[in-house]
């Protein structure tokens, strides 16, 4: 599973990164969350709001920080 969290230097963005990492640990999945700051990459997915999360090339989150439970569900769908 390829997981990318796109964000800038802001507290919301970091929160998504850590929540996603924790959600992965909850599920005992070995995948890693990649932190991306390059604006080109997020725009190429048609998204303009941070933080955003792309799992296996699919935009799962844009402009909000979902709860850990919701993130777990997203990862299980894409596992």
């Amino acid at each position: 599973m390829e997981i990318k969290v796109w964000g800038q230097d802001c507290s919301y963005c970091k929160k998504l990164f850590y929540s996603a990492t924790e959600a992965l640990a909850d599920l005992n999945l070995s995948a890693e969350v990649e932190w991306v700051e390059d604006v080109k990459e997020i725009l190429s997915h048609g998204v303009m709001s941070s933080p955003a999360m792309v799992v296996n090339g699919k935009v799962k989150v844009a402009g909000r920080v979902p709860s850990r439970a919701v993130l777990r569900k997203m990862f299980e769908e894409e596992k």
Binding site: G46, S49, S50
Partner: protein, 323 residues
């Protein structure tokens, strides 16, 4: 009802005399605190629900590649309802330009978004009444509209970093949230905002209450009153480093208005606090050259100073006519 509750707490529970300075200040503090927190809960929740319908990706579609004027107006309105954190300023800026939107229209959005913010709205509504809150929103939209048009007319496209025009944006279908997701978003957002501002609100209302009870009218009128022609200018300069602290400063402004600070000076001060957003400008440096940031800040500052003098004039005339 809240007033009665505040009276009950201060005069009965604490046993402070009703006509004392302390009693006056405390009563003011409890009443305002209860009112503001209630309003924060209700209004921020409602605003967040409305915003869940307008993600930036939709704003981009709605704006299409509209030209000046209509575009500026629509962008200023969308700036209010689109959820936006200054950390999204870069992708938003590029995304808007990429869709063919003129630079000035993009700036109308970037100005209205922080200016007309929900915390300032709550504070104004709670402390000054809905009329002033409405004047504030309308003025914010006009400020964004006009500043955007001026930036458009100046033809500053060459001050945008070159790489911006080379980025191509991909297509995405906008995920339509369910009502449950909207509710969860609004609930988390409200919690988050209250967690961030509650201390400032308390300190601000506390200082306001202290001014209400202790600072003499003459002092405020002497320094910030209609007699000082530089008051608006100084108010805007003081406001610049106070960015994002609408929660803490508006109660103080309200107390100062009661003591004789003119409404135009106060509006200019509050608008400068939110509109001249230093973090947003630092982030925008990634997409525009420093010269353009200076022009951008200059246009907003001058517009706000103008708004301050204009409202001082209007309110003075209104007071004169009412008399």
């Amino acid at each position: 009802m809240l007033k009665a509750l505040a009276d009950l707490i201060v005069y009965r529970l604490f046993g402070v005399a009703a006509d004392s300075r302390l009693g006056d200040s405390l009563d003011f503090f409890f009443y305002d605190t209860m009112k503001i927190f209630l309003l924060l809960l209700v209004i921020i929740f409602a605003v967040a629900i409305i915003r869940s319908f307008f993600p930036p990706e939709r704003a981009r579609k709605l704006l299409g590649n509209r030209r000046e004027y209509v575009g500026n107006f629509l962008a200023a309105l969308l700036g209010i309802v689109t959820p936006f954190c200054s950390c999204s300023a870069v992708p938003l800026f590029i995304g808007f330009l990429e869709s063919g939107l003129p630079l000035g229209v993009t700036f109308s959005f970037l100005i209205s978004s922080p200016t007309v913010n929900e915390v300032a709205l709550v504070m104004l509504w709670g402390l000054f009444g809905w009329e002033i809150a409405l004047i504030y929103v309308v003025t914010g939209v006009v400020l964004a509209f006009i500043s955007g048009i001026v930036i458009g007319k100046l033809k500053l496209e060459h001050l945008v970093e070159e790489y911006v025009y080379q980025i191509r944006m991909g297509e995405s279908e906008i995920h339509e949230p369910t009502w449950r997701e909207r509710y969860e978003y609004a609930r988390d957002y409200t919690k988050d905002i209250i967690k961030r501002v509650w201390l400032f609100v308390l300190v601000g209302i506390g200082l306001g209450a202290w001014i209400h009870g202790y600072v003499p009218v003459d002092l405020v009128v002497k320094y910030a009153g209609p007699g000082n022609p530089f008051a608006v200018l100084i108010a805007v300069l003081i406001a610049i480093p106070l960015y994002s602290n609408a929660a803490g400063t508006i109660p103080i402004v309200q107390a100062l208005v009661e003591k004789g600070m003119p409404m135009g000076t106060s509006l200019a001060f509050m608008m400068a606090i939110v509109a001249i957003s230093t973090p947003e400008m630092i982030i925008l440096r990634k997409v525009i050259k420093p010269k353009m940031i200076a022009i951008f800040a200059g246009i907003i500052s001058v517009s706000i100073i103008f708004i301050g003098y204009l409202f001082n004039f209007i309110f003075a005339r209104m007071a004169f006519l009412i008399k």
